[in-house]
């Protein structure tokens, strides 16, 4: 083994495959990564301080900007936090609509995440294009109910802003016709492909105990074999009435994360079908009429969390009795999932490092806050 000199490379902040302005300070020995330090904050806007000068309702659109891939899920977490703090009832139908939106969000996020992951592996956009096609369909649905594609701002304290439109359900049913075909196609592209297996099998292994110690969440945690899904572990909303399986990996490498994401799309579709079946008719009301939007919660603190597609998103609110939160803390999944990146990449090649980062599926809007 001949002695080689180590080289320091800055991957990013402007780099094709760091999702957003994100920098990895890599020390490579030849092509092997010996050390990696994630450096970020380029997108930091002190979201939490902005939230402290806003009223509770005014923060709702800001939560959209956290993880702009699944704004609905962020809305859900924040709405739940405030409802717990004030004690607002959410009508049945509103809960179902919320779950419907969040599961749609899960599908579109995973479709996009898988596409971007394969792009990082060097495919030329095809898988991403297929994912984006389905994503566009779902965004059309969001637009028709909430008025915006990405920054939905759809949830309100005690319900949702608008009831489902008349043409929503037929379009959703059409979408569910296409969904299995899409997922199977994705699986045929990803699951057996020898090249992809070589790139993903045994890459970026995060063992079970280490995953727990790093407190990663979402598909990364489940890919490592920990069956921890908040929808199942601490059921919120109406998830205790819905049947769905929790897919977990066995090794904890990139391949397991891919498999888990594919399976989660299937489970989300399953949930959506149940929701359509159980959805109460319109007199359930899409929002609690007694719920005031300009809330003045009593003094106290609350922590509410949901399972967003990327993992556990939690909001810790402290109220001083005024109409603005005294403290507003976001526990962002992408941010925490980045913690083990350095360890996951150590000992692998430069090419694998990019793939591992893609398999974590981060959104810088949420990491930098």
């Amino acid at each position: 083994m001949l002695k080689t000199e180590e080289l320091q490379i800055n991957i990013g902040p402007q780099h094709p495959s760091t999702h957003g302005v994100f920098r990895m300070l890599v020390t490579v020995d030849g092509e092997t990564v010996t050390d990696l330090k994630p450096v970020f904050g380029y997108l930091h806007r002190n979201h939490e301080q902005i939230a402290e000068v806003n009223t509770y309702l005014q923060n709702m659109p800001y939560t959209d900007r956290l993880d702009y891939f699944n704004a609905m899920a962020n809305n859900h977490a924040y709405a739940m936090a405030v409802e717990k703090l004030v004690g607002i009832e959410v009508p049945e139908r509103a809960e179902y609509i919320r779950v419907l939106m969040v599961e749609l969000t899960r599908i579109l996020n995973h479709a996009g995440a898988l596409g971007f992951l394969i792009n990082d592996m060097g495919a030329w956009q095809t898988q991403l294009a297929f994912g984006m096609r389905e994503r566009e369909k779902i965004l059309d649905l969001f637009e028709s109910v909430s008025g915006a594609r990405l920054m939905c701002n759809y949830f309100r304290f005690g319900g949702v802003a608008r009831d489902l439109t008349a043409d929503f359900m037929p379009r959703l049913k059409d979408l569910l016709v296409a969904m299995p075909a899409f997922i199977d196609e994705m699986e045929r592209l990803l699951r057996e492909n020898e090249i992809l297996l070589q790139r993903s099998e045994g890459i970026g292994i995060l063992p079970k105990d280490l995953a727990l110690a790093y407190s990663v969440t979402g598909p990364v945690l489940r890919g490592s074999g920990v069956a921890y899904d908040i929808r199942r572990a601490e059921p919120y909303s109406i998830y205790d009435r819905l049947d769905f399986d929790v897919p977990v990996g066995s090794v904890g490498d990139v391949y397991d994360r891919i498999l888990v994401r594919i399976e989660e799309m299937r489970q989300s579709k399953r949930i959506i079908e149940q929701v359509i079946a159980q959805l109460p008719d319109a007199q359930g009301g899409h929002i609690n009429p007694k719920a005031r939007q300009n809330v003045r919660p009593p003094v106290g603190d609350v922590y509410a969390r949901v399972e967003t597609p990327k993992g556990e998103l939690g909001f810790y609110l402290v109220s001083d009795g005024s109409s603005r939160p005294y403290r507003y803390k976001v526990r962002a999944p992408s941010f925490i999932n980045l913690t083990p990146l350095g360890d996951m990449c150590r000992g692998y090649k430069v090419a694998d490092m990019v793939v591992i980062l893609g398999s974590i599926d981060i959104v810088m809007g949420e990491v930098d806050r």
């Binding site: 904050g41 727990l212 001083d320 009795g321 005024s322 005294y326 930098d368």
Partner: protein
């Protein structure tokens, strides 16, 4: 699924590690208004532990009670009470609600022992707390600013940080 309530935790923790649990004293979160009645004081229901021995308490949670999943570390700046409160939130992988440990340190020299050696996942949480609140975590292997650039002065999330017209933003903002 296991379900240890906060009071339950306080009792068991007090029994297992005498002297760790502190008495919860009420906080007047906001300064009392000029007129009108002041809002009620804030008495937390969570367990308040001694700052110096938070690691022991956390290890007890992990090893004895099985709350191994450190979900969140959050700092709250109670300016009027002159303290920082650090909130550690633990979950059990079996499921169930969370358990929170709270630590109160004076605003003058906020020093807390670091959990990172035992929970690598606490790394970024503590760096964020250091960056935005200036809380020093003793024993943290790499305690640097994480969001702000390294030359930044001051801790922007503190309640007394100038919201306008500081040297970075400029008067016009």
């Amino acid at each position: 699924m296991p379900n240890v309530s906060a009071d339950d935790l306080r009792v068991r923790l007090g029994r297992a590690l005498p002297g760790v649990v502190q008495e919860v004293y009420p906080l007047k979160v906001a300064p009392p208004p000029a007129q009108g009645h002041a809002p009620a004081a804030f008495v937390t229901g969570d367990t308040l532990v001694d700052a110096a021995r938070v690691v022991d308490a956390a290890l007890y949670l992990r090893d004895v009670l099985g709350y191994a999943y450190l979900s969140d570390i959050c700092v709250v700046d109670y300016l009027t009470d002159g303290i920082f409160e650090v909130v550690y939130r633990f979950y059990n992988v079996e499921g169930g609600p969370s358990l929170a440990l709270k630590v109160r340190v004076p605003r003058e020299n906020p020093v807390v022992p670091s959990l990172t050696p035992d929970w690598p996942g606490a790394n970024f949480h503590e760096r964020e707390a250091f960056d935005l609140y200036g809380i020093t975590f003793v024993g943290h292997p790499y305690l640097h600013r994480i969001y702000m650039w390294d030359e930044f002065e001051g801790f922007p999330m503190r309640k007394d940080f100038p919201k306008q017209g500081d040297k970075y933003i400029g008067e016009d903002e």
